[in-house]
Amino acid sequence: MKYFVGTDTGGTFTDTIVMDDNGHLRMYKTHTTPHDRSIGIMKAIGLAAQDLGLTETAFIEKVSYFGHGSTAATNAFIERKGVRTGLITTEGFGDTMLIQRTMGQWAGLGDQLTHYSIRKLPDPIIPKQLIAEVPERIDYKGAVIVSLDELKARQVVRRLLEQGVEAIAVSLLWSFANPVHEQLIKKIVKEEAPGIFLSISSETAPVLGEYERTATTAINAYLGPSIDSYVTNLEDKLKAKGFNGIFTIMNSNGGVIPADEAREAAVSLLTSGPAGGVLASVHLAGKLGYPNVITSDMGGTSFDVGLIIDGKPIVSNNSEVESYHIVQPMVKVTAIGAGGGSIAYVENGHLFVGPKSAGAVPGPVCYDQGGTEPTITDADVVLGIIDPDHFLGGKMKLNKEKAEEAIRTKIAEPLGMTVVEAAAGIRTISDNRMADLLRQATISQGHDPRDFVLFAYGGAGPAHSYSFGAESGVKAILVPYTATVHSAYGIGTSDIHRSYYLSKRMQTPAMFQVASDHLSVSEFNGVFEQLEEKCEKTLLNDFVTKENVRFSRLVDLRFRGQFNQVSVEIEGGELTAIHINDLVARFEQKYEERYGNGTGYREAGIEITGFRVHGKAPVPKAAISKKLSNSDGKAAPRSERYVYFHEVDDFMTTYIYNEEDLEAGMEITGPAIIEHPGTTIVIGPKQKATIDEYLNTVILPEAVLLNDKQIQSEGEMVH
């Protein structure tokens, strides 16, 4: 027997899944040990070994694949625990990373965007004293205007070393168009300090836009050495117990990378946490045949939404991490402050929910750990949705009386409501707000939520998804069997993935006729060859062979003088003029699909801004097995209790099922509750749920949809 492990270290919990050759899945939750995260991970390994009746060593020797995701990079970044880093840049532009295109003062403020007095600039990652300028200049064409002053460059490197830097980042203007000066500096650094951690912007982020390119490169250098020692520590622990399998690390751009490469690509590990859940959903959606999925992860403090279109996650090239802006392809996740811990309050006779959260400490009032502000979880307890005796599989007793008391004094009495009305109100407001976000996430990509299936996971999600899912108008709601460890499942099932990008501007003139007359085929072929070669080089290793590597190619295009751009796929292999003209035609079509009929602006000409290659290679791993139904289709509830449903404005007798009793093919009619060890799935009145062949719960919402009234005044506008 061989085992495949996926593990995800979050802020509070470390989630682990273990699969065997037969596709049997086991799930574990242990506490994260922030000072040395490997302790929490090894504890989960110990639990798995115990379950399997093996010694730790006997188990680990049989692990052939170990995938790991971690918030280590994000935490090191937030806590500014990277190394002392120097930055070398073009003379005249040393402030670029301090200026941040003026976005640093407001990035991440969310609902507090309008409160100017609390604004501040983030602490610099690299202080001004460690930013060195060198004389050199390259222009927009990649032409050298002034050659690098190598003597000066060497002096600058030596000075930084004297100042005690442990890593160096190099980011010069237009280096992605012509990396010659960065390469020269790289050579100088290697000569002066052979062992030092070095990041070069034309390698780390060859993208137009000096601020984001510099920030990405600098953060990569700043975090590199700490990620290196993090990976080494975990690897040593595993190897000490006899691990001899494949070791990969989850990154944020759509897959895992071999652990050795993660050391060089620290910046790509930032925000990899939410990406795991989206990738698990991609995997699951592929198996189930759903092309379009909205993913939603509701935990204690936030509600994260991602989108899968045509089986692919929406990936964004620009992201914001702790007030800095980086260019790395990242699985796009939009978040609002709505989680189980979101606090409800009354002001001026109105009821508000969030974005303030009680967090994990003190947590909701019902946790009885000193929390006094009523939260969404408190409302769930008051309404009978969460059983205070069976929270976290009975591991934590909740105090319902205290939750009731808090809602009574802080919400119900000030508003002249009953406690139940107040609790139901808290849920209604937050469920609707989450539905608003689901709608917005689809609309912002030019899609309609009615074409989507909603995947709902995270500890608090399944208790609310029947409601926010129905409200948003999706056609079905699916709670994955792995809802509480969904990210770890994603990490355990993802392919190895690398992605390379090059900013390169090519354009047609205005009023062009044939695109290929202006866009050079040989340049296309040259760029893709270069990118695929790079990509292949990093993908090939002990367990990936050339035959297994699959590439996909993307071109970013826009209409000249416009800002919105679209990534369009193009065929592999040797390209011809036909491919290019076809690409432009598909771009125009896609642009109008995405931004609306008549928004195309062909007359202005077409501009290409960059090229991307994704390379994927499957890793050997097991797949979760189907559970064939041997039941008569009827699930037997274990008990019943009164649960309040705002749809009927009353308590209803509700059957309570336990997940252990459920088998594939069973149907459950709402109102009903399915209790899992880490979560509670609610099925609303008039809704029906089925347990599918992978033990996911699929809820068909009764249409609470708004009437789709045709608007009389909506006229056709043709220009």
Partner: protein, 730 residues
């Protein structure tokens, strides 16, 4: 200011849960309007610089929810709607399916490029609300590309002028009217896309608001519309009642009207009584003969921009904020110009200064309250230096572009922190500037530097934010024309508070006939244009079109933010830190902050001595009036603060103002400046990048007892000092 009660609207009782669900939903609809608008427009000004806004309005035109982009646009939509309802209700009528387009600055637009499109929302034949969107069009015709002509003297010359026109009639575009309008733009295709962006944003609102009406009933939606505004009204009223009643004044100056370098002033006297605010601009200059004026719409836009982030930072933004506001501004003054005055520069000049005045006056009010002192701040930079360029780009094609990096100017200081460096526009909550590489890829220029500019931050105990500066040489083009236009080259508009100094002026230079090409050929990089052999030209605030020749280098930097408090109270270590980080040159810092830096360290002893010397000097400043010295010994009851170095105190039955040193300074109902020591100071005393217009002077006012600087005032020569704060009932 406006009648907020909806007439003839049936109200029902709406429970708090439904209210909050619908409030969130309406905000989400505003957000979806913005998403849609940006998607369709595609214009960099709209998508990247976010120069637009949207709103949902009640049947009578009261703003219910808005977006969080450029604030003034929504104030403008409110005015457009007033004009649509007034001008169009009878003829041509407001019917289901109609949309109206407006760009006349005399009918609601801030200036002509800021075009609005508004749509009534009808339900079962009844008008139940409005949706509206407004954005900055790249070109709306007129004398020059971009429709901002610094030589204009009448609105007729500036651009097309569209009063409210029914452009969509019962769902159908008036094609003939559209052809006429779009035909007047130099960029008809962009113009059309931007128009479509606004109509599709409105359609989003129409569709979704009607879905809500279907689901929740019309009376519910009407009630929620009213209650959302009421919620803001209540919160603003409560906040205002917590603040002291009084008259708070601010005055600022504008150099150059487009025709000549005359000096104008805009003056605000803000009276706050209970929960009412009266903004009186009557003391402002007459309108100018050039294009540096604004109409009533931009006046409201400026007030809206100043008020929202400062007073309603945690309160939902809608018409409720304007409920307590009354405006007094006689027609014919610079900030309420009379037809047909040219007003093209309004948004960047007069409206900007209106906003600055509102910020300054409200900050003085907030600073008179212990509870709100930490929200008060000094002025942000007082106007952007616009630079439109046109000609042939590096691909030898005709092109036009606008520089927007001037937004990276300084923000004002607070009592608890420095102003944000490159903190930018007070009226854009989430601003960003383009990368140098983005600029260079579409505009034929090569930057020599872009960096924080030293000596731009206004000095103070807390300093203002720094401005950026940059320089570029034209690159790969035979011909490029630029039209720079600004004010604030000879007025340091970002005033400080409580003795804090103003930030820098805008500084521009043109280096003609340089040897830069030779330097490049010799592989020598030039990050500092002052090293070049060149003929240096200085440019006036509004020089009209300038032509760049190959090798010409243009260099500019902008206004820094105003400081807060006495600069010689700034901790010497923070000053040293500023010097090390390039905020000030060493000599400037030593002069402004009275520190002595030797070998990279603060010489504590010499610093202390220099500061004592400065205080001693200030104690010798001339004083106009004195309190009887016998008063100094009487018992005092502290009533509240004025800033963080003055206090209102009661002595028997009279209220006085005392200095932090406990010296009783003046009766609270008089202008305290008459009781302080006063001395004229020169532009070079407050930094290397300040210049004063020949009609201006600058005074420093200090406590005669301890030498603490309480005020720095820039004013027209020979005029009385501004009576900043006069509290009523104390």
């Amino acid at each position: 200011m406006k009648q907020i009660v909806e007439k003839g609207v049936e109200r029902v009782s709406v429970d708090p849960v439904t209210f909050e669900v619908l409030r969130n939903r309406l905000m989400a609809i505003s957000e979806e309007m913005s998403i849609n608008l940006q998607a369709v427009s595609g214009s960099p000004i709209v998508v990247e610089a976010a120069d637009f806004n949207v709103g949902i309005f009640s049947a009578n035109g009261n703003l219910v929810t808005m977006g969080k982009t450029v604030i003034a646009h929504t104030g403008s939509l409110v005015k457009m709607l007033e004009h649509i309802i007034a001008d169009c209700s009878l003829d041509p009528g407001i019917e289901e399916g109609d949309m109206f387009v407006v760009n006349s600055p005399y009918k609601g637009a801030l200036h002509a490029p800021d075009m609005g499109v508004l749509a009534p929302i009808f339900y079962e034949g009844e008008r139940i609300g409005w949706a509206g969107a407004c954005l900055h069009q790249l070109d709306v015709g007129g004398m020059v590309f971009g429709s901002l002509a610094s030589s204009a003297t009448e609105v007729y010359q500036e651009s097309m002028i569209i009063p409210p026109v029914k452009i969509i009639e019962r769902g159908k575009l008036r094609k003939d009217v559209w052809n006429m309008i779009s035909g007047m733009s130099r960029l008809p295709k962009n113009f059309t896309l931007d128009f479509r962006a606004m109509t599709s944003a409105n359609k989003v609102a129409l569709k979704q608001v009607l879905q809500l009406v279907d689901r929740y009933s019309l009376p519910t939606i009407n009630t929620v519309f009213e209650d959302i505004i009421q919620l803001t009204k209540d919160k603003i009223a409560l906040r205002l009642r917590q603040l002291p009643d009084g008259v708070y004044r601010a005055r600022n100056y504008l150099d150059h009207d487009g025709q000549s370098n005359r000096l104008y002033h805009i003056a605000l006297s803000l009276t706050k009584k209970s929960d009412k605010l009266t903004f009186d601009f009557s003391e402002s200059s007459e309108q100018t003969p050039g294009f540096a004026n604004c109409t009533e719409s931009a006046l409201v836009g400026g007030i809206f921009s100043g008020l929202l982030p400062l007073l309603a930072y945690d309160i939902p933004w809608n018409d409720g904020v304007l409920d307590p506001v009354e405006i007094i501004a006689p027609e014919g003054i610079i900030c309420n110009a009379k037809w047909p005055a040219a007003v093209g520069h309004a948004t960047l000049s007069v409206m900007w200064l209106v906003e600055s005045l509102v910020v300054e006056a409200i900050s003085k009010m907030l600073a008179s309250s212990d509870q709100y002192l930490s929200e008060a701040h000094s002025s942000y930079f007082g106007g952007a230096d616009l630079l439109n360029v046109a000609g042939l780009n590096q691909y030898k094609e005709p092109f036009g572009n606008t520089f927007t990096e001037q937004m990276a100017s300084g923000a004002g200081a607070y009592d608890h922190r420095d102003g944000i460096d490159a903190g930018g526009c007070h009226h854009i909550p989430a601003q960003k500037i383009p990368n140098v590489e983005t600029m260079e890829s579409g505009t034929p220029v090569l930057y020599l530097y872009r960096r924080y500019m030293e000596d731009t931050a206004g000095a103070g105990r807390n300093r203002g934010g720094m401005s950026l500066g940059s320089a570029f040489v034209v690159h790969d083009t035979p011909s490029l024309m630029g039209i720079p236009m600004a004010h604030g080259l000879e007025v340091p508009n970002a005033f400080g508070l409580w003795g804090g100094k103003p930030g820098s002026c805008i500084v521009r230079s043109m280096y003609r006939e340089t040897n830069i090409q030779n330097k490049f050929a010799a592989q020598e990089w030039v990050a500092d244009p002052s090293q070049l052999n060149a003929k240096k030209e200085s440019l006036s605030a509004k020089p009209g079109p300038i032509f760049f020749q190959p090798g010409d280098v243009f260099e500019w930097s902008w206004q820094g933010g105003g400081g807060w408090g006495d600069s010689i109270d700034r901790e010497p270590e923070r000053v040293l830190n500023d010097v090390n980080n390039g905020v000030y040159q060493k000599e400037t810092a030593e002069n402004l902050f009275k520190v002595v830096i030797s070998k990279g360290q603060i010489n504590q002893e010499a610093t202390q001595k220099a500061r004592e010397e400065k205080r001693r000097e200030r104690k010798t400043y001339e004083v106009a009036k004195f309190l009887p010295s016998s008063l100094q010994n009487d018992n005092r009851i502290v009533l509240g603060p004025i800033g963080d170095t003055l206090e209102r105190v009661q002595v028997s039955n009279t209220v006085y103002v005392q200095c932090g040193c406990k010296q009783l300074l003046a009766p609270a109902n008089e202008n305290i400046k008459e009781y302080l020591g006063v001395k004229a100071i020169a532009a070079e005393d407050i930094g290397t990048r300040v210049k004063l217009h020949e009609e201006l002077e600058m005074h420093e006012y200090a406590c005669p007892s301890c030498g603490l600087a309480h005020f720095t005032e820039v004013k027209r020569k020979g005029t009385a000092p501004l009576h900043d704060i006069k509290l009523i009932d104390y």
